[in-house]
């Protein structure tokens, strides 16, 4: 019997029998795409023409001066079409859906960025599209729900379980086992059963491959460290992919929420609260109790609020090929404010975790050292959350006025 998709002891495909043929098909389509240079070409051309790639690598002169340590560069995945790295994965899977001849796509979304990217892809390729989103995330990320619907997708709020990302994933699987003949599940991150972790990481590798070339062009040398936030792990694996064989330290930053000692966080690799388990079709570190029941997670950012983590990252953690840190909600807001004021750049709350992690370490490095921070997405979608945290009075007045208009 074949054992596929393992990274050390993590990964695999823990699938109900009903999905086995669907995954066999997906594995074979992906395997043939992966070994076909024509496919990668088609993908890169699409990303250049539709998504604006390559995204720039921006030198953050003011942040560098501020910390007076390492030279700070920012990889601008926020400048992708739809505002996040999620487009890289979604457009790639869209091409595979065409190859498989399916007509409908479904997806889960936390922050809504993956949902918006998927709805965009579906509109472009002419697929029907349903997006599952935890009810709590629907509340937190309303602007993205609005756009998904305008793009023609049906957004289904999920009221089961903890009403966040993991529950949306379960719901998407339930849809898939019913409709797999016509439908592809566009999983949004490098998690889930094989081949998703590998496939998503492969599409996201475009980030790191570009970043490496760009830093070599700009500086004539490799960076010392690279930082990315870690929800499921797709943007981190994307950035890391460029530097796997190089003497570059890879740092993933998870959601520390209210602090990793409080129980209110989503730190699976950087805390000792998670353990190995099997859920949602794969084996990895999950935040779970002794019985194996998944715990509630907490983060200011919906996109990092996930109980599991990519099996590829779990393996990198065990083999110490990457280092994992966490940043608290409060640190993230500080990092966000500083980045906005000093660089005129608004990172997504998810991405701001990578900034917070990097800011902690930048001053300890010397001026001839270089770091790259992956800005996985732009912060526009977070306007409600951030305005709440900053307690902005004018914003409140605006919302009250707007609400009054709706009542009139």
């Amino acid at each position: 019997m074949k054992h596929r998709g393992y990274y050390g002891g993590f990964g695999g495909a823990f699938l109900p029998e009903i999905l086995i043929p669907t995954f066999d098909e997906l594995v074979s389509v992906f395997e043939s795409a992966k070994t076909d240079p024509g496919f990668r070409n088609q993908y890169e051309t699409l990303m250049a023409q539709y998504s604006g790639r390559p995204t720039p690598l921006t030198f953050a002169a003011n942040l560098t001066r501020h910390f007076d340590g390492a030279k700070i560069y920012i990889k601008r995945e926020d400048l992708n079409h739809t505002g996040a790295h999620k487009a890289n994965n979604v457009m790639g899977q869209g091409l595979l859906v065409k190859k498989m001849g399916k007509t409908r796509v479904i997806a889960e979304t936390g922050a809504g960025q993956h949902g918006v990217a998927c709805a965009t892809m579906a509109a472009k390729f002419g697929f029907d599209c349903t997006i599952y989103m935890g009810e709590k995330d629907v509340m937190r990320q309303r602007p993205n729900v609005f756009w998904m619907e305008q793009l023609g997708a049906t957004v289904v709020p999920v009221t089961d379980g903890t009403k966040i990302l993991k529950d949306a994933i379960n719901q998407a699987f339930r849809d898939w086992v019913t409709n797999m003949d016509t439908t592809h599940y566009v999983l949004g991150t490098a998690c889930g059963p094989h081949p998703f972790p590998e496939m998503v990481a492969w599409f996201q590798s475009i980030i790191g491959i570009e970043a490496k070339q760009q830093i070599l062009d700009l500086e004539g040398r490799l960076p010392d460290r690279v930082y990315a936030c870690v929800g499921g792990g797709s943007n981190a694996l994307g950035l890391f992919a460029g530097f796997l064989d190089d003497p570059v330290e890879l740092v993933g930053v998870e959601a520390g929420g209210k602090g990793i000692d409080t129980g209110f966080h989503a730190a699976r690799l950087s805390s000792t609260d998670a353990g190995a388990g099997i859920a949602q079709g794969y084996k990895t570190y999950f935040l779970q109790d002794d019985d194996g029941q998944m715990k509630e997670t907490h983060s200011i950012s919906a996109g990092l609020d996930y109980v599991g983590v990519s099996p590829i990252l779990a393996h990198m953690h065990e083999t110490k090929t990457a280092r994992f840190e966490s940043a608290t909600d409060a640190e993230v807001v500080d990092a966000l404010k500083l980045t906005m004021r000093s660089e005129g750049i608004i990172p997504a709350l998810e991405s701001a975790h990578a900034f917070a992690g990097a800011f902690r370490e930048a001053p300890t490095l010397s001026r001839d050292q270089i770091i790259i921070i992956n800005q996985s997405g732009r912060g526009d979608k977070d306007i409600f959350t951030v305005a709440d945290v900053l307690n902005d009075p004018e914003w409140k007045t605006f919302i009250q006025t707007k609400a009054a208009q709706y009542h009139a």
């Binding site: 074949k2 089961d160 379960n170 699987f173 339930r174 086992v177 099997i278 859920a279 002794d290 194996g292």
Partner: protein, 256 residues
């Protein structure tokens, strides 16, 4: 042995009935009352589900039952104690139904050993396909337990043969694609698929997913060996209480 029990029972009935409960939903007392009424009404085998927070293959009714059971404090230890009690009290085979993370966290070997010690006959773990189940299969075999395998309408003939080669007790044939609880269309397609299952496997066949009334039972008689009723009993209980479940099951049971 589970298979010989089934074969024996078949001398009296042309279609056996297996039911399912989620342990601890709505409470352990109610779960016990359900088991008692079901056994009295003539159920031949029962699945006892250890609730899991992410029941991937279950539809809304069983999903909600899992969540409620957990909210009300159902733990693995309580479920094991309950199952032990049921197996000691009632003279039918009981099987665990749960998801892979529960035995994985318990330890596959320890889980199988405990299952045998408390008098259960096997387990159904839908997210543990044979490719991932080596340790589990071995542990179950060592304890003379049946690790129930599944067929689905999309399973190829070649794969059915592979699955059949490791099957023990019976094979659970999913009546259709999808999750538990939704309506199943009993059609020629289903009949043909069951014929394909029959050809592939020598062990008895159980059919579940969407089986809910007398007509379904009549359709399955002669085509399968065991009918599985899951979500429908929960619906009946939620509407009419535990006693209604007894009437419901009696109405389904084929003549002894």
């Amino acid at each position: 042995m589970l298979e010989s029990y089934i074969r024996d029972k078949q001398k009296q009935k042309d279609l056996l009935l297996m039911t399912h409960i989620v342990m601890g939903y709505p409470s352990f007392d109610d779960s016990h009352a359900m088991v008692k009424h079901m056994v009295a009404a003539g159920v031949d085998l029962m699945e006892l589900q250890i609730p899991f927070s992410e029941p991937m293959a279950d539809g809304p009714v069983i999903l909600k039952a899992n969540q409620k059971a957990l909210e009300q404090g159902a733990t693995v230890a309580k479920c094991l104690a309950f199952a032990k009690d049921m197996a000691a009290r009632y003279p039918i085979p009981f099987l665990f139904m749960t998801y892979a993370n529960i035995p994985y966290r318990f330890g596959m070997a320890a889980f199988a050993k405990t299952t045998a010690n408390i008098g259960l006959t096997g387990a159904i773990v839908p997210d543990l396909p044979m490719e991932e189940g080596a340790e589990y299969l071995q542990a179950m075999k060592k304890n003379q337990l049946s690790p129930i395998q599944m067929f689905s309408p999309g399973t190829s003939d070649a794969r059915m043969a592979q699955i059949a080669s490791i099957a023990s007790g019976f094979i659970y044939c999913l009546a259709r694609k999808g999750v538990t609880g939704a309506q199943t269309d009993l059609s020629d397609d289903l009949a043909q698929y069951l014929a394909r299952c029959r050809k592939a496997a020598s062990v008895p066949l159980a059919v579940g997913f969407g089986i809910k009334d007398r007509a379904d039972m009549d359709f399955l008689a002669g085509r399968a060996d065991i009918a599985v009723i899951g979500s429908e009993t929960i619906r009946v209980m939620e509407k009419g209480g535990v006693a209604a479940v007894r009437d419901f099951i009696q109405g389904l049971s084929r003549s002894a």
